[in-house]
Symmetry: C2
């Protein structure tokens, strides 16, 4: 019983932190504010249950990422022999947009990721956590096999652009759904397909050599 | 003399606000904090000189935008008869990246725009200000003429994506330059060319019809 209660408390703290970080940014919210907003009498509840703020950020990612990984693994199994770059890019995008759809509105995870990836140290944490999943390594290899030859700097730049496009398109859509303001696409499914189309064009775009 | 002093004060308040908004977000910083950080004995200095926070945001944009507009007008004159979509997209991107290069490091404008465009009301303000320039209307027409036919939702979505890619690529680069951390591209010029290539691919990407 006591363990079950501790787990519930932990989960409520993580959900509260996700929302506060999504709304105000990770740096702007203290562990004390998270503890208070989660209704903890003890202002050090975050420290007690998680340790540092970085551990709390990690706990937020680890609460959602396994659901996304499950979808990604299923999708990868279905397309693993495909030689169409678009199929592989879909494995990067649709598990995220499908997961966001499953959360209903308001969800906070897309905005949380947008905020966390603004901080260089936390961005590293998010990408390390994401690329630690076996499916992500297979997708990276699959995409690489099907890409035209690109100079190293162009490839790195397009990787960053790919992240910006997914993260900020999802965050803006999540915010609009909560506010009830218009979105270009009617559903997360259509928004995901739009992202896959655009990213395929971005990765295949000819590059201009620079001095 | 008194007028010159008032103008200097105004300009210092605007520069201070740009930096604070870039670092912490527009919503997180009060007019009082801007007044204090700008060394104003009177905590209502922002109110006295500008009015509301929205007026202050507008003043930040109007301090930088004319320099970008000048570059855009010059570039547009040079390519106005081009039928290559890439040339028109370059007019959207390079005046911004060239302006950021001219500011040296640390600059704050790219991060300020990234923060401001996260807020739906301020995003509207930024885009209205930008599209009020005659060159922007000509570029929008030029790009439209050269685009393949796209459904209205796909066109709107790609317009948003275009903004995300420019704004967040520039903001991340500006942050990295200040921190002295690696960037995919060595110069703003190369980063601008990379953006133009990627955006051309994005706009020309085939689209998948959705239900």
């Amino acid at each position: 019983m006591r363990q079950a209660h501790a787990n519930e408390t932990r989960d409520f703290i993580v959900a509260t932190a996700e929302r506060l970080f999504a709304e105000h940014g990770v740096a702007a919210v203290s562990n004390r504010q998270v503890s208070e907003a989660a209704g903890q009498a003890n202002n050090f509840a975050v420290g007690y249950h998680f340790g540092t703020k970085t551990d709390l950020v990690l706990a937020i990612i680890r609460r959602q990422a396994p659901f996304i990984e499950q979808r990604r693994t299923d999708m990868l199994t279905a397309i693993q022999h495909s030689t169409d770059l678009r199929d592989w890019i879909a494995c990067l995008v649709l598990p995220m947009t499908d997961h966001l759809a499953s959360l209903g509105s308001p969800s906070w995870y897309a905005r949380f990721i947008a905020q966390a990836t603004t901080d260089p140290a936390l961005r590293r944490l998010v990408t390390d956590e994401t690329f630690a999943f076996p499916s992500m390594q297979k997708i990276t290899e699959g995409v690489s096999r099907l890409l035209p030859v690109l100079p190293e700097d162009v490839r790195a730049e397009r990787g960053d652009m790919c992240r910006h496009l997914i993260v900020h398109t999802c965050a803006e859509r999540e915010r609009a759904l909560q506010a009830g303001t218009p979105t270009p696409r009617a559903t997360w499914e259509a928004a995901g397909i739009g992202l896959v189309d655009a990213l395929t064009g971005l990765w295949l775009a000819p590059y201009t050599p620079t001095p």
